[in-house]
């Protein structure tokens, strides 16, 4: 038997299934919260911090990631305050400055309203969202990939750096990776990275984006949970 709790997201009264996350509930009800490391069916680790929301507790707004926050009776959530938009934009800016050579990341940047990048570009090919690590461990029970190192040295690798025989070569890690598709104009060379913004046409209103999901094409870019679930 599913139990329901009553929560409020952006003023909308929602009957949510106990045990689900705020992000899942919001997406289910068509409230758009940008996200990257979240993938339907995998556990949430709260790494990308794009899905931050304000959780109002005793009148105080606490910023927290919505993927790791489970719904509870009487919970009040705001997903689109000016502060949240600004913080989210800053995180997306950090991401796109680090890995501009990915359509997904460029789409996330547009979706979060990044207009300029204030840092010099790096051309990394991983943002450590951990989708590959989790899908390998949780869906295929293979654990052929894992995080290695700490802090700035953290990266994804096979155990001891060699492809193990328990890797099933299923390629799900590649399918699920947000970094595999380059921006539409083609790959960017090191030193020539730029903020793409080409998709802005699809979301003219990036600043005054509706709280409701409009099934935007950007979602396809970063494998938005709603698009994935709809099949």
């Amino acid at each position: 038997m599913q139990e329901y709790v009553n929560i409020t997201i952006d003023g909308a009264k929602i009957s949510a299934i106990r045990g689900t996350s705020v992000l899942d509930t919001a997406m289910e009800y068509g409230i758009c919260i940008p996200h990257l490391c979240h993938y339907p069916g995998l556990s949430d680790i709260g790494a990308c911090r794009l899905c931050i929301v304000e959780h109002i507790v005793n009148g105080k707004a606490k910023v927290t990631a919505s993927c790791t926050l489970n719904v509870a009776e009487g919970m009040v959530i705001r997903t689109d305050t000016d502060r949240i938009k600004r913080l989210r934009r800053n995180i997306a800016e950090l991401l796109v400055a680090q890995a501009p050579n990915s359509r997904a990341i460029q789409d996330v940047a547009v979706r979060c309203g990044v207009k300029q990048v204030r840092y010099p570009f790096h051309n990394d090919n991983c943002v450590l969202c951990g989708r590959c690590v989790r899908v390998c461990a949780e869906m295929w029970q293979a654990k052929a990939l894992g995080f290695v190192g700490r802090g700035k040295d953290r990266h994804v690798d096979f155990p001891f750096g060699r492809k193990p025989d328990f890797c099933k070569s299923c390629n799900t890690c590649i399918d699920i990776c947000p970094m595999t598709i380059t921006p539409c104009p083609g790959p960017m060379k090191t030193g020539e990275e730029y903020l793409c913004l080409a998709c802005e046409g699809q979301l003219i209103m990036a600043d005054s984006l509706p709280g409701a999901c409009v099934w935007c094409d950007l979602g396809k870019g970063f494998q938005c949970a709603r698009q994935v679930q709809a099949g």
Binding site: C48, Y119, R150
Partner: protein, 616 residues
């Protein structure tokens, strides 16, 4: 030793210890903590023991090796009771004189006495030393009376009587109420009310619960947890025993970093002895069962964060997890877990013994009791300082610390380690308590206090802490991993003369983003060093950017060494010392520095005896 089974046994045993003590004429206390060891106190102990034995004092004079007593820079310290004579910086060669003069004839040896750097006066008695006099050494004071490897010493000063009191008819709810009304707050940095945490853990569903002592102290410049665990391990065991009784746990862990070998070994010995005496195990004074295990950390700073610590304890990678469900509900192995800092646990027996009202009488409205601070940096007296909460920074730095070293004005104090901030000298009248420091943009944190004077560049300090945190971040969440990297990039630009004015606003914006969005407390507080220095020392950042000028003369890219031809005698000392061969000149004629070759290491300035080399 038979197990002590009842309260009566314990009292009787304590009385017999007191009777033994009366047989001893003289007590020689030598501190042998990590600081003492490093300064050679173990050799002093050996020399003292053999000297006493050969002079026929064995049995009449007792030598006690204690943990750190707080005045680390004066180690090895030898105190002789009952006269309360305090000798500092004692070497093994001084020992025969101490035995023949002080112990035999009760004569004071002038040259071994402590000299007050403020007045130049020699001070005989330990209690008259200004460093100690202004303190309220409730917890640290015990270190002097206890040999950490000897449970009898701890029992003699009233040890385990709080446990006995609790187990002789006090309910768990009453214990929690007592802790609550004492106003004790977590000493590890967060300042969460301890009683409240215990109550939540007690009320959490589940039969199996855990208590943990967090001794993974990693802040640069902070070492009070080490000193307490090293010098008084039984106080922590007793605190954890009381806590476990209150929350309903039967298993405890001490998570201590492996870089504290003496703390690990002393805590191990303490656990063994406590088991022998029946304070740990299946039948504790007939009322409770509890066991403690020691786990050693593997060197990650982030494992001091509670959820990362628990992951590490479980054998997983030490990474924090989101705290939307608190550890008092789902902590170690998803069971309710009560985690407290070393100092918090050590305060518990004192509160139970002396009462909540006694504890609450010290401190301010919101922060009760005393707190140990590690005072380091550019002050005359460095060491561990225990004062009541609410004592002003000025008292700590000027009265206890003795004020500036070498006559250079003090500019700022960095409190709370890398998560804390820098407060300028104008703010030194602020009382040190959780709320006030947080409002001022810093924090009490675990209690590190690094004093900085005009020779310190605040941009460089911020850069140091950000580099430290970048190394120590787990790298899991984006704002912490990438944000710290970008911060370091910008700070490096500024210190190397490539800074732009708009980068200051970017630093603030980025800092605020990290403060709100990071996953764990390490990330949420990581921007504090930058935000606080920007708040109070913005003009230093601006002069780095606009004038390419570092007033402290620290940032190498912005300074030049030059030789004043009027002062230079041409002695050639700098010429020989320069590793880059950047100095040229004939003997007895003024030398010159070739700026292209100079790496700005500053060795020439250090070796010059004529003050001819200056930074501009």
């Amino acid at each position: 030793m038979p197990k002590l089974k009842t309260l009566k046994d314990l009292t009787k045993f304590r009385e017999s210890l007191a009777a033994q003590k009366e047989d001893v004429d003289c007590m020689v206390t030598i501190s042998g903590g990590t600081c003492g060891n490093a300064s050679g106190s173990l050799k002093v102990v050996e020399a003292m023991q053999s000297e006493l034995a050969s002079n026929g004092f064995a049995g009449r004079v007792h030598v006690r090796v204690t943990g750190c007593q707080g005045f680390c820079e004066q180690e090895p310290i030898v105190t002789i009771d009952p006269a309360n004579i305090f000798y500092c910086r004692v070497s093994p060669d001084d020992v025969p004189e101490i035995v023949s003069e002080t112990i035999r004839k009760n004569q004071v040896i002038e040259r071994l006495l402590y000299t007050d750097p403020a007045t130049g006066e020699k001070i005989t008695k330990e209690t008259d030393i200004p460093f100690y006099r202004a303190q309220d050494r409730v917890l640290l004071g015990l270190n002097r009376k206890i040999d950490p490897c000897n449970i009898e010493d701890y029992i003699a000063v009233g040890g385990y009587s709080a446990l006995a009191k609790v187990l002789s008819g006090v309910t768990a709810e009453q214990v929690i109420q007592e802790i609550k009304s004492s106003g004790l707050r977590g000493r590890g940095g967060g300042g969460y009310p301890t009683g409240q945490k215990w109550q939540q853990c007690r009320e959490a569903a589940g039969d199996e619960k855990y208590v943990i002592c967090n001794a993974d102290e990693g802040d640069p410049g902070a070492y009070m947890d080490r000193s307490v665990l090293e010098g008084n391990p039984h106080a922590i065991l007793e605190g954890m025993l009381i806590g476990s009784y209150a929350v309903g746990a039967n298993k405890g862990y001490i998570y201590v970093r492996n870089e504290y070998p003496l703390a690990v070994s002393n805590a191990r010995k303490a656990i063994e002895q406590a088991k022998l005496f029946g304070f740990l195990g299946d039948d504790i004074l007939g009322r409770h069962f509890f066991d403690i295990e020691i786990m050693r950390g593997a060197g990650a700073f982030v494992c001091g964060e509670s959820t990362a610590l628990m992951a590490s304890l479980e054998g997983k990678v030490g990474e924090p997890r989101p705290k939307d469900v608190h550890t008092v509900q789902e902590g170690l192995w998803n069971k309710p877990t009560c985690l407290n800092n070393v100092e918090t646990w050590a305060n518990v027996p004192l509160i139970i013994n002396k009462g909540a009202a006694w504890f609450a009488s010290k401190g301010t409205k919101g922060s009760k009791g005393t707190k140990i601070f590690a005072l380091t940096g550019r002050v005359k007296n460095t060491g561990l300082v225990e004062v009541a909460m609410g004592t002003s920074l000025r008292t700590i730095i000027h009265s206890i610390g003795g004020g500036p070293n070498d006559g250079v004005a003090i500019k700022a104090v960095q409190t709370g380690g890398p998560s804390g901030g820098c407060l300028p000298a104008e703010k030194f009248d602020l009382p040190v308590d959780f709320e006030t420091l947080a409002e001022a943009g810093s924090m009490v944190g675990s209690g590190g206090m690094v004093v900085m004077d005009e020779r310190t560049c605040m941009v460089d300090v911020a850069k140091y802490f950000i580099a430290f945190l970048q190394d120590e971040s787990c790298g899991k969440c984006v704002p912490c991993r990438l944000g710290l990297g970008r911060m370091l990039e910008i700070l490096t630009d500024i210190t190397e003369g490539r800074g732009k004015p708009e980068q200051l606003d970017l630093l603030e914006d980025l800092g605020e983003t990290m403060t709100h969005t990071c996953l764990c407390a390490l990330g949420k507080t990581a921007a504090n060093p930058v935000l606080s220095t920007l708040r109070y020392f913005r003009q230093e950042y601006e002069s780095h950017i606009q004038d390419k000028y570092c007033s402290a003369g620290v940032c190498r890219e912005l300074i030049q060494y030059s030789i004043d031809p009027n002062n230079c005698t041409g002695c050639g000392a700098c010429l020989k010392a320069c590793p880059n061969k950047a100095i040229t000149g004939e003997s007895e004629k003024p030398h010159r520095i070739n700026q292209d070759l100079c790496s700005r290491c500053g060795i020439c300035k250090d070796v010059c005896k004529f003050e001819a080399i200056s930074i501009c």
